[in-house]
Structures are given as C-alpha cells and as structure tokens.
C-alpha cells in the first residue's frame, strides 16, 4: 500500500454541495412555474390593445361568468388526466345533469334541491360507469368515454323528448344563481371558486390526491406499494362525472333553457384548459390552480373573438391557432428554464 498523494483527504465527508440558486435559475424557475400567468397577462395586453372594450370591468366580469362552466368541468378532467386517463363524455354528462334536474323540477316530482342532487347523482353515476369500464373491463379511456359521450347524449335527449326536446329553466334558484352577485362577484363565479378551493384541498392535502399523482407517475410502482389503484382511479372518474354535472347545471342556469345541443363539443375547451394549465396527457403532472388559468385563457380567446365580430365560420379557425400559440409560449417558457 502506498501513501496516497492526497492533500484533500482530510476534508469532512459529505460536505453539502448544494449551492445558492443563481438569479437566472430563480427567474426561469418562476417563469416555468407561472409561465401560464404571463401568457394570461400577455393575451390581456394584446387583446386590450386591439379591442379596448375587452378590458372593461363589465367585460371582465363577463369573461369570468363565461369561464366558470369550463373551469368547473376542468376540475374533474384534471384529476382524470392526472391518472393518465381522459374523459370525452363531460359535455354529454352536462346535458344529462341539466335534463334530469329540469325534468324533476318541471314535472314537480321533487323540490329544486333534491332535483339538483338527483341530477348530480346521475352525472356521478356516468363517471362511475366510465371508471368501471376503463378499470375493470380494461378498455382504453378514449374509447370508453367516446362511447358514453354518444350514448349519454342520446339518453339525455330522450329525456328531453319527453318535454318536446326543449326544457325551460323556470326554477327561481337557477335564475338567482345566474343573475345575482355578491360584491361584484357573480354567484356562478363564487360557485366556481368554492369548487376550486375544495378540490385544491383534496388534491394537495389528502392521501387520495397524493395517490392520483403517484398513479400517473408510475402506476406499477404505486400498485406495488399496496395502494388500491383501481379504486382510486374509478373514484377519479366518478368525481369527473360529478364536476361535469355541476358545470352542466351552471351552464343551463346561464342559458335559461336546456336544448339538445347543450355542452356539445365543450370537452375540447375543457381538455384544452387542462393541457394549457400544464398537465401532461401521459399523467402524473398537473395543478389545479394552473388549470383555472388555462380555463381563463380559453374564455378570453372566445370572448375576444366575439367582441371582434369574427364570423362564426372563422371563429373556430382563429381559436385553434390562438390555442396553439399559447401552447408554444408555454413550451418556450419551459425550454428556457430546462436549458
């Protein structure tokens, strides 16, 4: 054995090698954390500059009212996307919730609160069905929910046909929620915020929330930790059905009528909101507060297009492009912080 020519061999073991974050690192990590917030601000500036009406208080309140439906439905979608699934049936579930609730109210079967509960129950049951088909029958979620999207719309429309395929929303509670506000905050927006608070708590503070992230990150490993993966996933789908139902009820209260087309193609806006919020479709990442910002972006775009009077045929084209631009900006903010 030789004596090692080491002058450093007397330094203490495992000296911490952590170093201060550099300014650039801090900025870029903030940017990647809240990049979406900058996009919201950027869009607000651009839209406000090109359409002055856009930034009026009245219009902003309006945007939030418009956003509330998509935002509420995006809560459940965030959870389902977190576990690596997807739910295309939310639009149809929204219609189902509206149709059943209105049926019970208009035919005076029950009083309004019970009718609402029944409508939400129906929605949650559809979610449960989705979950069971995905988890127990092991059919891919895109296919399952594409199927229920078609089937549930058919079911809901059949309920509407009992009322000549169109139901008016006459219940005072709905009118109240749609029109009243507390200190500038419309009730629908308050409903939305309360839902977000509750589900933010569930996702970040409970073991159920933790399991959702774990399953999305590595399902096999989670299963090997003894977590009841199937049950957790089915529950996530059920909650997604539930929030879709809540969104549907808010939607019909704003429309003041249930038509067979309620919620048609809304799933695109909902999924877009979640993805813009930074959730990955392969699961494991996504945050509720960012989903809300994603929903706001979608709402701002739609509102802007209406203000600008873009013809309906071109509106969707422009919408598609703006969403892409938002996605690219989001990506760029991430690339900068990763590099």
């Amino acid at each position: 054995m030789t004596n090692n020519p080491l002058e450093t061999s007397s330094t203490p073991p495992l000296a911490k090698r952590t170093v201060e974050f550099r300014k650039g690192e801090v900025i870029s990590s903030i940017f990647s954390q809240f990049g979406i917030l900058f996009i919201v601000i950027l869009l607000a500036i651009v839209f406000g500059a090109t359409a002055p009406r856009f930034l009026l208080v009245q219009n902003i309140v309006n945007i939030f009212k418009q956003v509330s439906v998509v935002a509420i439905m995006a809560i459940g979608m965030t959870m389902v996307i977190l576990i690596g699934g997807i739910d295309l049936s939310v639009g149809s579930v929204a219609l189902l919730a509206g149709a059943t609730t209105m049926y019970f109210i208009n035919h005076e079967v029950t009083n309004t609160p019970i009718a609402i509960l029944l409508g939400l129950l129906a929605s949650a049951l559809v979610g449960l069905l989705n979950g069971v088909l995905v988890e127990k029958a092991k059919i891919s979620p895109i296919i399952v929910t594409l199927g229920t999207m078609i089937a549930i719309r058919g079911l809901a429309q059949s309920i509407l046909w009992l009322d000549n395929s169109w139901a008016w929303v006459k219940a005072p509670l709905f009118k109240f929620v749609a029109n009243e506000s507390i200190l500038f905050f419309p009730l629908v927006v308050i409903v939305m915020l309360v839902m977000y608070l509750i589900f933010w708590f569930i996702l970040s503070q409970t073991s159920f929330g933790r399991y959702l992230y774990a399953i999305g990150g590595n399902q096999k490993a989670t299963y090997l930790c003894g977590i009841p993966v199937e049950r957790v996933k089915i529950f996530a789908y059920t909650l997604c059905g539930f929030t879709a139902g809540v969104g549907g009820l808010v939607l019909i209260s704003r429309l003041s009528a249930v038509s067979p087309a309620v919620g048609l193609r809304i799933e695109f806006d909902v999924i877009t909101a979640v993805i813009l919020g930074g959730a990955s479709l392969s699961g494991g990442s996504g945050r509720l507060e960012k989903t809300l910002l994603g929903a706001i972006i979608v709402g701002m775009i739609l509102n802007y297009l209406t203000i600008k009077g873009i013809p309906g045929t071109l509106q969707s084209a422009v919408n598609g492009f703006i969403i892409l631009i938002a996605a690219v900006l989001d990506r760029l903010s991430k690339v900068r912080s990763a590099g």
Binding site: I139, I143, G147, K220, S280, L314, A317, G320, V328, R331
Partner: protein, 336 residues
Amino acid sequence: MPNNQRDFRLVFGRVLQTYGLLLMVIVLLVIFTFLNERFFTLQNLKNILEQNAALAIVAVGVTFSIISGNFDLSPGAAIALAGVVLALVYTHTNNMWIAAGAALGVSLLVGLFNGALISYFRINSVIVTLAAMIWARGLALGLTSADSIPFQSRFVEFMNNASFLGVSPIILLIILSFVLGWFLLGYTRLGRYTYALGGDSEATKQAGVNTALYTLLIFLISAFLVWTGTLVTVSRLSAGAPNAVYGLEFDAIVAVIIGGNSMTGGEGNLGKTLIGVLFIAILNNGLSTLGMRDSSFYLYKGFIILIALFFEVMSRRMIVKGQGSTLSGNETVSGH
C-alpha cells in the same frame, strides 16, 4: 392452477386476438345479410370499400402516428381543407394538375405544421392535432362560406368509372396506401424508428437517432395519405365540401385500436388496422342501409364497437395470464 388451463388460456387468447375481430367481421356480415338481402352482393361490398376509402387510407397514416406514440386527430379536417382548396383552384384554373398540386401543398403544410410543433417544439400531439382539427375545419368553412363547391372534371369521371381488371382506381389507391405503409413500416429505417419512438423516445434519442426529424417525417407521411384521401373524397363527392368526412379521425383511431394495435404505441401493424377498417366500414354501411335515425345509428355503432373492444381486451388479458407474468391486476390497454 394446473398448467393445461394456463396453456389453454394462452392458446385461446392468441386465437381470439388474431382471429377475434375477423370473426366479428364475419358475424356482422351474416347479420346484415340476414337483415338486408342486398347487403351481401359484390356490388355492395365494392361500394362499402369505396364509401370508406378515405377512412382506410387515412387509417394507414394514423397507424404510423399511434405506433410512434402520438395521436393524430386532424386528418378529417385536413381532407376537408385540402378538398376545398382543390375545388377552388380547379374552378379558377380549370387545370386538375395545378388543383391537385395545390391540395398536396396544403396537406403537406398541415402535416409540416403539426409535425414541427410536435417534434421541434415538443408540444403534446393531442393538443396540436386537436387544434388543427378545429382550425383546418374552420378555414375550410371560412374559405367557402360554409357552402360546398361542386365541379366537373375528367379526373373525377376517371376515378369513379375507370377500372383496371375490375378494380376501380379508388380501391387501387387503398391497396397502394396499405402497400406503401406496410413497406415503410417493415423494411425501412423510418418504420423501425416509428416503433422505437413509441417504445421510449428518450432512449431512442440516446441511441443517436434524430428523433425530431423522424417524428416530423411520420406526420408528413400522414399528410401524404391525407392528400390521397382528399383525391378520393372530392372524386366521390364531385365537389370540395367543408363539411366532408366529419368524424373521420375518430373512426380511423377506433379502427386502428380495435384492430388490436396498442394505444400507447410501440407495437402494432397494418394487418390489424386493415381488419379494424373493414369492421368499421361494414358497420357504417350496414347500419346506414337499415335506415335509422342519426342518434340510434351512433348508439348502435358505439355499442357494437364496445363489444368488439371488449373481446380485444379479453384476449390480451388471457395471454398475459397464460404467460404467467406478473401484476395481472394492473395493466390496461392504455396503461403506461
């Protein structure tokens, strides 16, 4: 558990997986023939293929994107856009070469745009192609104020009426697309990397493959097939229609998956896609000849598709169980 039961599972699962959907295709044929005597005639079978030619052609491209681990929801809208452009250019120039060239350009541009965003900007393919589905359809509607643009040309006549040894040009195009896809997937680098990308794109990159370039190429192939599908679609309609082939992308994806290709990528082949396409085509045609309302049409279609998928999934599980591999309670067709 005794071994022979396990072997039985393995064998039965394999048989079900290989021939299950084919069996369902035959069952469908029998049922529809029973319900409608004119169903099982050579004329109608040819008709089924021609009606669903765009689906079959596009499904080849969708197979590529799904194997590579991406989704492509844009082909239907892209066909509508390219078809509208073709019709517009043709009515202005009266030259089918220029018109078809313009349509090719548009298809490739859409593919390039999608592919570049997905490969170089690394934006999720679902969002990119979902957006493309919206903007391309919107552009098609905007360009035509939502009307379709009819036109007459020798090309359309040729496509609809010519025949080579009894095979119409449209069916020939289907065959060519499948042959092209089969060749690319099985015998070229592009095909090999398509599988590799779907398996683990990071590891593929570490092996020195230019993953971004190949992802882009996959979407360009898709675009080329979209163009082929456009030629078929405008010929059959004799018009460029902004509302053409609505929902084609969903049919195509369902056909690919139902044929037994893995949803998560890395596996699959065009034989499976072909059977899936046949299944959807027969289902579309059979249900529509029964003359039912739209909503019931979709209900039946959805229901039958679910049954077929159920078999597909069952067979997979049986094989997994039969092989005695672990974690049986835990894999999904869509799992990761």
